[in-house]
């Protein structure tokens, strides 16, 4: 298959019409599908087999409401349209009228085009009746009813791709388009009365502030309860036994084989504590290096993304965004900024990518800075729960309390200081949809796989670097350099220096390095808080740099370090 000759097919449509679901059905590629507008930032591409040995490149374009540059914040989509050989216009059958505007705009660009009428299954219980043949005739474009979630109609869509021909449409004004849409809708769509389903009733309840705000609090509270419950059970009943019963004997034999000491032994197994391997303190590649990401962090990643996936597919996030819009405006953001923040709780990297959803440079800067300072990722949370939790729940609460306070205070300050104001919200609230178990599991698997692929090598690299650096006494030099801050301002022992350094690479292993240090509770709390604030991990930094640009990233980094110094010092004085 040659890359150049394959035709390019663009999947285009309004936000949240299910382009990504159709994309993954067409190509078999794994992409994130959720029930809220803006799931796809950037674009994905994959291949679809048209006939035996004939392929086409399929590109999943971010959703737009219109091709008009005035209305569209996403220039990527507009630029990409010009490069396609064919367009599959994904249309939400339950919102036909509104969706057809983009369809007409696309048609007038005169590229070969076919309409995939998605969410076909939903029209029935919504009391919508669409005459597909009439619609096809009125528009002069092939229309295929499909359902991306179940796969219905996808085969027919692929077959019809071969029949799509180039047509020329007359250019019309906006008003003429709306007039035409009105005519087409009258001829092809009938609305029937339908009874409110239970989900729809819940929809109204979670939208009104009187009931919506308590529901939002309950949802957030229960989510964290469930996440912790699942994770702790996974640790106790699955991952700890795995490491203690199966992995430990292997490591013990290896340790004996390596002679229980020496440089190689210390790098691979780590130092023995009282003659035994200690997963938390030994700090070898195959002991702590695997135990931290797999036994301590992975269970939390698993349960967090399970719950997040369910909430996403249900369509709860846009409602939560509406409930917190008031608060977020005071922080210089608007409600939708809650989406990158929540994604950031899982991992700051996808969180930082989702900052692209926000419209203005000011908003991006505020959101990026707040996330880096005050939103700990799940790896960090898991380690704090594990390490600080042993000293008592109130210390864990103290750390998260301080971070939350920082989120509010920093937001308030930035909103006051930075010129401009947060833009008005305008977004669609999708209907609730029952999460499909297979879809939820598929997404969970994708995210866990990404975590394993990205995190484990980083952690191992970190462990290796620390071992090498401490062997050649580099830390002694750096410790002397940063001792004024670490020792004098924060009141921490100098041996927290390697952990601080490691925090630039990964937070989980950095916190893991505190385990053998025998810090006082106060020192532990300060170190964990400072580690969360002072800088994002390397991967997040790279993404933020791309989203914010050098200038804003420098400013943001300066704010982070300044905040860390001030907060750490204050904690040292007050606690």
């Amino acid at each position: 298959m040659s890359l150049k000759k394959d035709p390019k097919i663009l999947l285009m449509g309004n936000p949240n019409v299910g382009k990504s679901a159709i994309f993954s059905r067409l190509t078999g590629a794994k992409v994130t599908v959720s029930n809220y507008p803006g799931t796809t930032v950037g674009f994905c591409q994959g291949y679809v087999t048209l006939e035996k040995n004939t392929y086409a490149v399929v590109i999943d374009v971010p959703g737009v409401y219109s091709l008009d540059p005035l209305t569209t914040t996403d220039e990527v989509a507009i630029k990409m349209r010009e490069k396609g050989d064919m367009i599959i216009n994904v249309v939400d059958a339950t919102n036909l009228e509104r969706n057809l505007f983009l369809s007409l705009e696309l048609a007038e660009k005169n590229a070969p085009m076919i309409i995939a009428l998605n969410m076909w299954d939903e029209t029935k219980h919504k009391g919508i009746e669409i005459d597909v043949k009439a619609l096809q005739k009125e528009l002069g474009i092939l229309v295929v009813p499909v359902c991306g979630l179940t796969g219905f109609g996808i085969k027919e869509l692929v077959e019809k791709l071969k029949l799509v021909k180039k047509r020329t449409f007359k250019a019309t004004t906006r008003e003429e388009k709306w007039e035409k849409i009105g005519r087409v809708i009258n001829l092809t769509q009938k609305l029937h009365h339908h009874h409110h389903t239970l989900l729809e009733r819940f929809e109204d309840m979670s939208t009104r502030p009187a009931t919506g705000i308590p529901i939002a609090m309950l949802v957030v509270y229960l989510s964290f309860k469930i996440i912790r419950g699942i994770a702790e059970n996974l640790i106790t009943y699955v991952f700890n036994p795995l490491f203690d019963k199966i992995w430990l004997p292997i490591m013990e034999k290896l340790s004996l084989f390596l002679g229980q000491k020496g440089v190689l032994h210390n790098v691979i197994i780590g130092k023995l504590v009282n003659g035994e391997i200690d997963y938390e303190k030994s700090f070898g590649l195959l002991t702590t290096g695997l135990f931290v990401p797999i036994a301590e962090v992975l269970p939390y990643i698993l349960s967090f993304y399970l719950i997040l996936g369910i909430l996403e597919d249900l369509g709860y996030l846009p409602r939560l965004a509406t409930q917190v819009d008031n608060l977020m405006h005071r922080l210089g953001l608007h409600g939708y900024a809650i989406v990158p923040m929540i994604l950031g709780l899982g991992c700051n990297v996808p969180g930082a990518m989702a900052i692209r959803l926000l419209e203005t440079r000011r908003e991006k800067f505020i959101a990026g800075t707040l996330m880096a300072i005050a939103i700990p990722c799940m790896a960090q949370i898991a380690m704090i729960l594990g390490l600080v939790g042993k000293r008592g729940g109130k210390y864990v609460a103290l750390i998260f309390g301080i971070l939350f306070l920082l989120l509010i205070v920093k937001g308030l300050i930035m909103n006051k200081v930075l010129k401009g104001k947060s833009p008005e919200v305008l977004w669609e609230i999708p209907p609730y949809r029952m999460p499909q178990p297979t879809a939820v599991v598929k997404k969970l698997w994708m995210r866990v796989f990404e975590f394993m692929r990205d995190a484990v090598p980083y952690v191992l690299l970190g462990v290796l670097i620390i071992n090498v650096l401490s062997a050649i006494h580099v830390f002694d030099f750096l410790t002397g350099l940063f001792s004024p801050i670490i020792h004098n301002l924060w009141g921490l022992p100098d041996d927290t220096m390697p952990a601080m350094l490691m925090g630039f690479l990964r937070k989980d292993i950095a916190i893991g390095m505190l385990a053998p240090l025998e810090l006082t509770t106060k020192q532990l709390v300060i170190t964990c808080t400072v580690l969360a604030i002072y800088f994002p991990c390397m991967a997040t930094f790279i993404v933020l740099l791309r989203e914010l640009g050098w200038k804003d990233m420098l400013k943001s980094a300066f704010l982070m370090i300044l905040t860390a110094i001030i907060v750490g010092t204050l904690m040292n004085i007050i606690l």
Binding site: Y65, S66, T207, P209, T322
Partner: protein, 112 residues
């Protein structure tokens, strides 16, 4: 005035005699005069109204248009948030959250 004419014809159908119909017409006329444009934010929950004008820049108008909020369209208030928070409305089959400032610029007239 699409809304008016439609409710008028319904009146005709419901009235048994011409007098009743005339009453209905008169009422409708009075109502028609009373119908003034108010801000979307003034709507009560579950109240429906017809979009009359959208003040503000072309960009805002076009964005609202593509979400189904344009002149002559019926929208129904779902809820508004305190402290000048966003309002949520139903336009067609779509629920939309609109910032308070933007919602103030959308003028609607209530149909009885």
């Amino acid at each position: 005035m699409v809304g008016c004419s439609r409710s008028l014809s319904i009146c005709y159908l419901n009235c048994d005699n011409i007098q009743g119909a005339q009453h209905a017409m008169r009422d409708q006329k009075v109502l028609g005069e009373k119908m003034e444009e108010i801000s979307l934010t003034k709507l009560k929950s579950k109240q429906s109204a017809m979009v009359k004008t959208i003040e503000g820049g072309q960009s805002v108008r076009h964005r609202l248009e593509t979400l189904g909020i344009r002149k002559g369209k019926k929208i129904t208030m779902i809820s508004s948030h305190f402290w000048r928070g966003p309002v949520t409305v139903l336009a067609g089959k779509t629920k939309i959250a609109i910032g308070h400032g933007m919602a103030q610029k959308i003028k609607v007239s209530v149909e009885e």
